[in-house]
Symmetry: C2
Subunit: 152 residues, 2 copies
Amino acid sequence: MQIGSKFTIGVHIITAIDYFKDMDRVNSEFLAGSIGVNPVIVRTVISQLREAGIVQTQRGSSGAELTKRLDEITLYDIYKAVGSVDTEEGLFHFHEQPNPDCPVGRNIHKVLDQRLIDAQKAMEEKLRSTTLADIVEDTRQAVNNESNEEKE
Amino acid sequence: MQIGSKFTIGVHIITAIDYFKDMDRVNSEFLAGSIGVNPVIVRTVISQLREAGIVQTQRGSSGAELTKRLDEITLYDIYKAVGSVDTEEGLFHFHEQPNPDCPVGRNIHKVLDQRLIDAQKAMEEKLRSTTLADIVEDTRQAVNNESNEEKE
DNA sequence: GACGGTTGTAATATATCACATTACAGCTAA
DNA sequence: TTAGCTGTAATGTGATATATTACAACCGTC
């Protein structure tokens, strides 16, 4: 089991929108090329980011813009925006029909649920601690290191 | 996306093995009845718990036994035993073909990977903090509360 | 105002995976 | 030897992630 790639795609999209904002026409096809997926996937993810108030787009004209500062967007915001984990169901899928006639069966939910929620929250808190400013900065840094290595 | 129910089934199994150890013949059919799944699923999960050194079984004769003390088994041990998350791949599925000709594309992995690993580890650490002794105790407690409520 | 380029989204296809189910050989205790 | 159980393979089925095609709605520009 894995959390779908729409999450890392979302991070990639926002990073690229900022990174290329003054250089290229950052449309869905350009992004799809950088990410390595179909343009429709990019548009779908951008739609979800738009609904979450993170980016802004316009039909017809090309290019998305961020509506928040990079340091106000966390990994968690993107994770949430693209629906990485269903809010109702949670990260852990509980077996659905424990037997109510069995003392263990009818209490296991009660006993486990909060601990599972806590584990999920611990992961989500970690995601909150990184902002897209961190990601973009680290990306620029990595690119700089590349050109330094070339010179040697 | 969700972590499969084999994890909560595993917890249920160990809890029931301990809870009923002096009362019933705890075979795969009995467990399947308590959990509400097919007996083969139970046997599969028990197989994985056995490979992880948590339970011990015998062909022919019925009933599994724990090979560790309850307070030496954590939720994480079960999570790991049943392969809730693939060790190679990790919890987060990264899009697989970021473009190496794009500065963002060829660096996004480097920049994101450690942060994703950290988030996953935070969740797993939480799972480590609960032992099956906690779960069984809370279950007995819950059962006691039931009979108290009846008397009122 | 017609046109090229773009977005938003529906519809469909495909592969993978979780779980269910059947079947049966191997084993143990009585 | 028999009854009952386990271990596991094989197969079915539904759900889901991602890819892809198609097209209407829309914008800036000539």
